[in-house]
Structure formats: structure tokens, C-alpha cells
């Protein structure tokens, strides 16, 4: 069972299926799976965009805010985003 890299693999599969939804055979299950991945393209783009926004916002808060609680929460959020992508 893979511990790390599942999210990376998912992104790669989605991008590949988006580019090549069909190929030269050979069964219906594989076709439906590829189409399922291809449909997740928007989901992946949103994941990247939201992660970027959250990270930028957190780093901004860390540098600009003097409130320790806010900084702690920002570090926590950054850790959550990193953990999500490394799963």
C-alpha cells in the first residue's frame, strides 16, 4: 500500500486522461475509468488554486501579523496543505 504520493499520482492520471481520454483499446472498464479521471480535471485545478491561495495568505499573515495566535494558525494551515499534497 502506498503511503506517500497518492495525490501526485492522481494529478498525473487526471492530466493524462484529460489529454488522451481514449486510446486503441481494449475494454470498456478502462475507458470509463479514464473518462472518470478526465472529468476530475476541474477538481484538480481547483485544488491547486485553493492551495496556492491558502499558502500565500498564510505566509502573508505570518510576515505581517504580530499576533502569535494568528501566526500559529497560519503555520497549522500550511502544514495541513502540505500534508494533503503529500498523502
Amino acid at each position: 500500500m502506498k503511503i506517500f504520493g497518492n495525490q501526485f499520482d492522481f494529478v498525473v492520471k487526471v492530466l493524462d486522461a484529460r489529454k488522451y481520454p481514449v486510446d486503441a483499446g481494449a475494454d470498456d472498464d478502462e475507458l470509463l475509468l479514464r473518462l472518470e479521471y478526465a472529468r476530475s480535471y476541474t477538481k484538480v485545478i481547483m485544488q491547486v488554486v485553493i492551495s496556492t491561495i491558502v499558502l500565500v495568505a498564510c505566509f502573508y499573515l505570518i510576515f505581517k501579523s504580530t499576533d502569535q495566535a494568528i501566526q500559529k494558525a497560519s503555520f497549522g494551515l500550511i502544514g495541513t496543505v502540505i500534508g494533503y499534497w503529500l498523502r
Binding site: 498525473v12 481494449a26 475494454d27
Partner: protein, 323 residues
Amino acid sequence: MRKKIIFVTFVILVIISIPSYCFSFDNSNIKDPTSCNNLMTSILLGSDGGSIYKLSPIADPELNNAGRYDYIEVDQLKLSNKSYRKKIIKTEGRVFYKGAQSITDAQEFFHSWVKSPKVIFAIPDDMDSIKNIYGTSLNDKDIQMIKKQIDSVHNSLQGINTLQQPHNSNEINVKYINSLITSETNDTIILVGHNHKGLLKLPNGESIDITKTQKFANKHNKTLLIISCNSFDYVDQNFEGLISIERLNYEAIVEGLKLAEKNRCNFTECTMYMGDYVYYLDQGIALNVEKNKKQKIQVKLVLTISVGGTATCTFIVLYEGEN
């Protein structure tokens, strides 16, 4: 040393089933199938003494170093084993010639001429033909996605000027394919398409059996190259022709055809040996597959660097903050 140099298009998969025979050049001398050690490996074909395809047998441990003129004998059961297939795929060959009778037949195949090939790319070009090939359960978005990809493949194909092809997908039907096989116009027919468990689906809804069509072509002494995913899984043990043991993208096949055609027309009168033609076809497909693999690695690298970089920056900020 790059494995690409080591080329296994001509790894001949001679599928031996019981009962089976290994023939020497002298057909009266039938060998025991379990000891095919005396297959002829140096047969001069053709009166011009030109390209000589001397095929040499290799064993499993040598598979990684298989060259262009090597072949391996393997039985059907072994080739159904996934880990053995992965071993063959790692050799970077993409399409293989499967023989069933003798090496002589394989060598004759490689030594035949390709002068006027015709390609039939049995892919759809409108909504109805997409549904005919890929099923009626697709929604409009899926069909749009597929159409976008197929249009791109069609555009790439149009760029191969030297290869004859039907004007549109409506022309492609069983009758047309059979007429091409029986006519004298083209010496080589290349049939590419989506196969569903051994049945190649045509844009008009018809389908043809890969094994039967190849046999029909062999009977009429017509060279037919069928290129489709995992075709090996659905051909019988007596099948003789091109097979693949993995998934193939249309785009990769187009690249293979482009490379083969480009090299064919480097020679006088645009003629070359089938062995060379299939070599370039395979090389083109392999290059495209490699390119896709590299792109996937690049995506993973970008993601890893982004996440790793973020973690490092966070650690530095935290460390600086504490100090």
C-alpha cells in the same frame, strides 16, 4: 548505454503450443518442440542479396539486451504472466511480430517490400461514430472531450502525405477493408483501431475480428499490420502478424507512422524492407511513449518541488522567528 539502441521490434514471439514443431530450412526435418536449438539463423533471402534478416534466438536472461534481430520462443502461458510482460515492455519495444510456424516465415515477412502502404485509422470523426465505437452511455461532455482528441489525431494524420488513407471515416466498413485486402493496388495495409476484446470497432458500428482478418489477409498474400492495444490477449496461438502487449495511444501510433514514412521515402522510389518499416514504426511509438513518461515525471517533479519548497520555506520562517 541507452536501451533505445537495443531494439526489440524483431523479438519474435514464437508461440509454441503443444503439439508444435520447429522447422528447419529443410521442411522434411521436423524437430522436437522442446529442443528448438537448430533453427536456421542464416538464410539469405532475395536474389539481390540486399538486407539480410538473420534472426538469432535469445533466452530470457538476455531479454534486456535483445537486439533488432533477436527472437525469443515463449509459450502462451508464460506470456499471459503479467510480470513477464513487464519484463518485455521494459525492453522498450512496443509492437512485436508473433510467429507460429517457423522462423523462415518471419524472415520472409521482414524481407518483403513496402512500396505503397495504405493506412486505415478506424477512428470516429463525429458524434455518432464516437458512440458507435466507445458506447452509447457517454454524456455530451465526454463526447466533446473525445472529439477534441480525435480531431487532433486526424490533423496529425493528414500531415503524412506519403501515406494513402481514406478521405473520411464513413468510407471505412467491412466491405471496404475486405476489398483492400483482395485488391492489387496496395502491397501493405495498416489497420489501426480501438479493439474491444479482439473485435476491432469501425466508425459505422461494424466490427471485425483481428484474428480472422489477419488470416484472411495472409490467405490473400497481403501484408496486413493490425495495430491495436493488447492485441496479443485476443489472438489465437496460430496467429501470425503484429501484436502488442500493452496499451497504445493513437498519437503514438501516428508518430510511429510518420517516422516510418519519413524513412521509407528516403530511399529510391519510396520503397523499403518491411523489417526496416516496422523498426521505424516501433521506434516512433516508443519515442512518443517515452515523451509521455517524461511529461508525467515532470509534473510529479513540479509538484514535489512546490510542496517541498513550501515546507522548507515554512521551516526557515519558523526557525528565523524563533531566533
